[in-house]
Point group: C2
Chain length 256, copies 2
């Protein structure tokens, strides 16, 4: 039986520790090809490069994987992997991450990690984004690795429902071991931004965007609750954004 073909990407860039952990785990499961950004692409959402050119360079930085760095976004990486790097070979699984930082709740919208996974799901490939809720570059990923392997193997053997990608988040490492996995819905929360006004050496003003995460969700079936209670969260996400419940309301209430 031939080994499964696994495409790996991320949004922190190909040199981030998180993707190195992910490649190491995936190399135990299958043949690994990495196509990842040549620098950080956090917060890029589902951006793609359409008004500019892309570079793609083969690099030798992983022991058990062929690898390419790309000048584009995570979504670009998956597209160019499919249409140029892998050509006629179709990956059995696409994994993205392990992100340095949370992609729970509404952060999924801004997440380059998840855009790589969603891009793959669009192509009909089982896809998973993995994120550790710890932003440190030297974050401890050790507690996540057995779960990353377990979830990837389940995706390969059981498949992922059509039109869906998985958003997997891990709590930061605690003294106690992880309690297990919860399949969750996306928590109802948002970022409350603040803009820090400063002046450059030429006297012109500029801003840094900063923000606090505000959780409105009182339920226990959501990803924020899972992370806060030391569970791994899996949220199945879809790219059909239609708010079906609103169609009837618009048809009945609006005068169109």
């Amino acid at each position: 039986m031939s080994k499964p073909l696994i495409l790996v990407s991320n949004d922190d860039g190909i040199t981030a520790p998180g993707i190195h952990h992910l490649v190491k785990v995936m190399a135990q499961i299958g043949e690994v090809v990495v196509v990842a950004p040549d620098g950080p692409q956090s917060g890029m959402g589902h951006a793609i490069t359409i008004g500019n050119t892309l570079r793609l360079t083969e690099v030798d930085i992983f022991d058990h994987a062929s690898a390419y760095e790309c000048s584009g976004t995570p979504a670009d990486c998956v597209k160019i992997a499919k249409h140029f790097v892998l050509k006629d070979r179709h990956p059995d699984l696409v994994v993205s991450g392990i992100n340095h930082g949370s992609n729970t709740s509404i952060s999924v919208l801004y997440s380059g990690t998840m855009s790589a996974a969603i891009e793959a799901a669009l192509e009909g490939t089982p896809a998973i984004g993995f994120s550790l809720c710890d932003y440190a570059n030297d974050a401890d990923f050790s507690h996540t690795l057995e779960y990353v392997e377990k979830i990837a193997r389940q995706a390969l053997s059981k498949g992922i429902p059509k039109g869906v990608a998985l958003n997997v988040n891990f709590p930061p490492r605690q003294n106690e071991p992880l309690k297990g996995i919860k399949v969750c819905r996306q928590a109802n929360a948002k970022w409350q931004e603040e803009f820090d006004l400063r002046y450059d050496p030429h006297g012109r003003r500029y801003f840094w965007m900063a923000g606090n995460f505000v959780n409105f969700d009182k339920g226990e079936d959501n990803d924020e609750w899972a992370i806060a209670n030391n569970y791994v969260s899996i949220v199945p996400v879809k790219y059909d954004l239609t708010a079906h419940h609103a169609i009837m309301e618009l048809n009945e209430e609006w005068e169109l």
Copy 2:
């Protein structure tokens, strides 16, 4: 009665003809504040600027609106509008566009136009993205304007369901008038990319991403069908990406 406060943004940049049409229509309805990118941001999806600074400059380019150009993405524009430009004033409506090009079907994921609207919806503000399925800079928007006004006025009087933004697309101008409005679901379609390999003057390779839109959808209740049949399409979209139907499947079928 005070006039409604309407925030306008887009992703083609503040000098694009489409936003000028939109501002003109909105100025008939309310007080208009424009915060839009200082250059094209197409394809930026829901990107935000977190590792870099933002610039914001007041500009005098609209007759009946105060206006600011911002160095960031459409989502950044809405955030800085709310937290810096408008401060304590809450807009009654946020509109984005009119985009030069289609944002039907899966294009909603890549759309900067829609990310501005979704960002506003996150803040609880009724929000609409408008797009004309004609990419030309000198596209004819004349057939869209009465519908833009009608839809905006309905949003102000009837509201938009919580957690939802509207994705409105217009067919290119035909010889016949538009047939009306259809409330639709997002069509099941995708972009089939091609990467055009070239070499720069230094002999290094680079790529242009290009692609064809492929429609798999055989239904008549979707936005692609509406546009192809000269209707205005309205798709209500939500930012809770949870694939609720998949939660049960994962809980039952997977060994977690």
